[in-house]
């Protein structure tokens, strides 16, 4: 998956950028979810508010109906009064007045001509006017059923009232209508008894659209018509609706019709109040999200720093290696970065070591090359001194250079440290095709470079001499090369013995080769050497300090 992602052309970015994107990838969906959840919650809260508005209206209409039912029951009880049946209106006036002692109400008795026969708000016998609401009275006469009037203004009290009216039947005929005139403030008190928040307004509107009671500023609104739009909405709307109040404020309103009176009982709450509440909710949620974001961002920054700083250190370390600088390991809070930097540190050390080794090898190579050129130059000059002809010079010099090359080859294979003596002997005999006729015996000895080069010179001169005059010249000739040591006196002893070759004669005048075999090599090794030319074959013996041997165990 990551490889597939890398294949897309994602522009390279710093780790900080990706960490910021990572943090956003984690937080943005959560913030989105939080906003959605908050909106959902707000919706639920609105539904709850609507339910609450409807419940308040429902509760109010029950209270109003209960109040009207109570008045009706009171009237129907009074209707059974004996004094009324005996037409003793004075006694009935007194009885009715007692029944209403604690109520803001009055009881009236009206005949078919709508004439008030008694009114508990006036002393019995006072001349009374006709009722101000003959329509409701007529409806009671007509239907023989109790009815509740719309809002009226009492002719006696001069106050806004509503009448609860019941028929007084004599036989099957309605003789009178008994009326309880309830003061509108009594309904206002009913509304007030709900003890709602000030932002809540409840009200009662009669069948003509006139306000009967209002929980707020009752005195200002009672008797006033409900605005036609609001009245129409209240009559037709089901449940809760949004509209404007009488005072022109946006409201959420629920209206329920009274079963007893047909009035509209409404509960409203100001939209501004709900919105303020919602705004507070939004502010709180915003503050919570903001705080979470700031806190999250701060923590993300700290943890991002824990990651980005070590990785930046690792990047700087890698760049430092590119510049050939040394990298020190660090202890950072990020394990992966520590591992990388430790690896880089190790790599920088190794690189430095290899650079130094390469420089050392280059210097060593240059030194050895120039030294060998000086050796070859000396070799050429000495050979030239000993050569009678140019051909002889060329032949001897080329052989000596070849001998030197054999010794060098062996040392190159051993990283210039030196060579095993057995290998050295064999290499120089091989150069003359004589190793198969030689017996090479001795303990494993690893000689240093100086000994390899000098003994190599001596072996070359011995083999040259044997090929010209000794064992190598004759097909039966044999050569025995043996050595021993390091011995107790701290020396190594090397012998070259030729057998079965031509009869040997001691040279009349020792040449340069003899000088090499006897003196020069021995001096160079701080040893001693002898060379005898006995008739059965040449014998060469070399002794040199064991300090020229670096190891005495052949490792293969």
């Amino acid at each position: 998956m990551p490889e597939r992602l890398f294949n897309h052309r994602v522009p390279p970015q710093r780790i900080r950028t990706f960490l910021v994107l990572f943090a956003l990838a984690l937080t943005l969906p959560l913030i989105g979810l939080a906003v959605l959840a908050f909106n959902q919650l707000a919706g639920l809260e609105e539904e709850e508010t609507e339910r609450r508005v409807l419940q308040v209206a429902q509760s109010l209409v029950d209270d109003v109906d209960r109040e009207l039912d109570r008045a009706t029951i009171t009237l129907e009880t009074l209707a059974t009064s004996v004094s009324l049946a005996n037409n003793d209106l004075a006694a009935f006036h007194e009885q009715a007045s007692r029944a209403l002692m604690r109520d803001k109400a009055g009881i009236l008795l009206v005949d078919r001509s709508f004439q008030q026969l008694l009114n508990t708000r006036a002393a019995y016998g006072t001349t009374l006017p006709r009722t101000v609401d003959p329509a409701t009275v007529q409806r009671v006469f007509d239907t023989k059923q109790p009815h509740v009037s719309d809002l009226i203004v009492g002719i006696v009290s001069g106050r806004p009232l509503i009448n609860v009216e019941v028929p007084i039947l004599v036989g099957e005929e309605v003789r009178y209508v008994l009326i309880m005139a309830l003061d509108a403030t009594r309904l206002e008190q009913l509304l007030q008894s709900q003890r709602l928040d000030p932002q809540w307004i409840t009200g009662i509107t009669d069948n003509k659209g006139i306000i009967v009671a209002r929980s707020e500023r009752h005195a200002d609104f009672v008797g006033k018509p409900l605005p036609p739009d609001l009245l129409e909405q209240s009559r037709t709307a089901q449940g809760v609706f949004r509209t404007k109040s009488v005072a022109g404020q946006g409201i959420l309103r629920a209206t329920v019709r009274s079963r007893t009176a047909g009035w509209l009982v409404s509960a409203t709450v100001q939209v501004a109040h709900l919105e303020a509440s919602r705004r507070r909710g939004h502010l709180f949620a915003g503050a919570m999200i903001g705080t979470s974001l700031v806190l999250g961002a701060a923590l993300a920054y700290i943890f991002a720093t824990f990651m980005s700083h070590p990785l930046e250190s690792a990047t700087r370390s890698a760049m430092a290696i590119g510049l050939g600088k040394r990298v020190e390991p660090i202890k950072s809070p990020l394990i992966e970065a520590n591992t990388v930097i430790e690896a880089l540190s190790t790599a920088s050390l190794e690189l430095k070591r290899r650079q130094e080794h390469a420089a050392f090898l280059m210097g060593e190579l240059a030194h050895r090359a120039k030294n060998q050129l000086a050796v070859v130059k000396g070799m050429a000059l000495q050979t030239a001194r000993q050569s009678a002809t140019v051909d002889e010079l060329v032949e001897q010099l080329s052989q000596r250079i070849q001998g030197l090359a054999e010794s060098q080859d062996l040392m190159v294979r051993q990283n210039w440290q030196g060579a095993w003596l057995a290998d050295l002997v064999k290499a120089h005999l091989d150069l003359f095709g004589a190793s198969s006729r030689a017996r090479i015996e001795g303990p494993p000895l690893f000689l240093n470079a100086n000994a390899v080069q000098n003994i190599g010179f001596a072996l070359h001169e011995l083999a040259t001499n044997a090929s010209k005059y000794g064992a190598i010249k004759s097909p039966q000739g044999r050569i025995l090369v043996t050595w021993r040591g390091p011995e107790e006196d701290g020396r190594i002893r090397l012998d070259w013995v030729e057998r079965d070759g031509p009869l040997v004669q001691t040279p009349k005048r020792p040449g340069f080769g003899s000088l090499v075999m006897t003196d020069l090599v021995a001096q160079a090794l701080q040893g001693t050497a002898t060379l005898d030319f006995s008739p059965e074959g040449a014998r060469w013996h070399l002794e040199f300090p064991a300090s020229h041997a670096l190891a005495s165990t052949h490792n293969g």
């Binding site: 050392f360 210097g363 240059a366 030194h367 050895r368 090359a369 120039k370 030294n371 050129l373 000086a374 050796v375 070859v376 130059k377 000396g378 070799m379 050429a380 000059l381 000495q382 030239a384 001194r385 240093n448 100086n450 080069q453 000098n454 010179f457 340069f512 000088l515 090499v516 003196d519 020069l520 090599v521 001096q523 160079a524 090794l525 701080q526 300090s547 020229h548």
Partner: protein
Amino acid sequence: MDLLASHSQTATLRLAASAEHSSNPPGEQGDQPDLGARSLRVLIVEDEFFISLHTKQLLQALGHSVVGIAVSADQAIDFAEQERPDVVLMDIRLVGSRDGIEAADEIRARLGIGSIFVTANTDTRTRQRALASQPLGFLEKPLTEQRLKLGLSKAV
């Protein structure tokens, strides 16, 4: 013909060095030895005998004498103590645990005899060590008569 100079031999030959001259490349033909110049007694410290033989012949051609050829630091100090040369031609890399710089240091400290280092190619660190031992000069290998003459004239 005795080409070998051991510490017991002091050759003071003033050879025309014909063989040497014939082997020198063109342009490197050595000057004839300045017979009026001072003849120096020189100790050669070199573990490659082909090089030491060549150096000896060059010195002799220049009219100087070789008091000995040493192959190690200890041997060089012994020879210097016995022969008291005027100058030491010192190879830096030698057989044994001590190198030419240590030998030159000790010879100068004990005997007051200066050394000229003869080296193939010296790394910076070794060269700084060599300089600290206050040498009379440096000579590059392979030696030529001209180079050797100039080096000796500067040093002495």
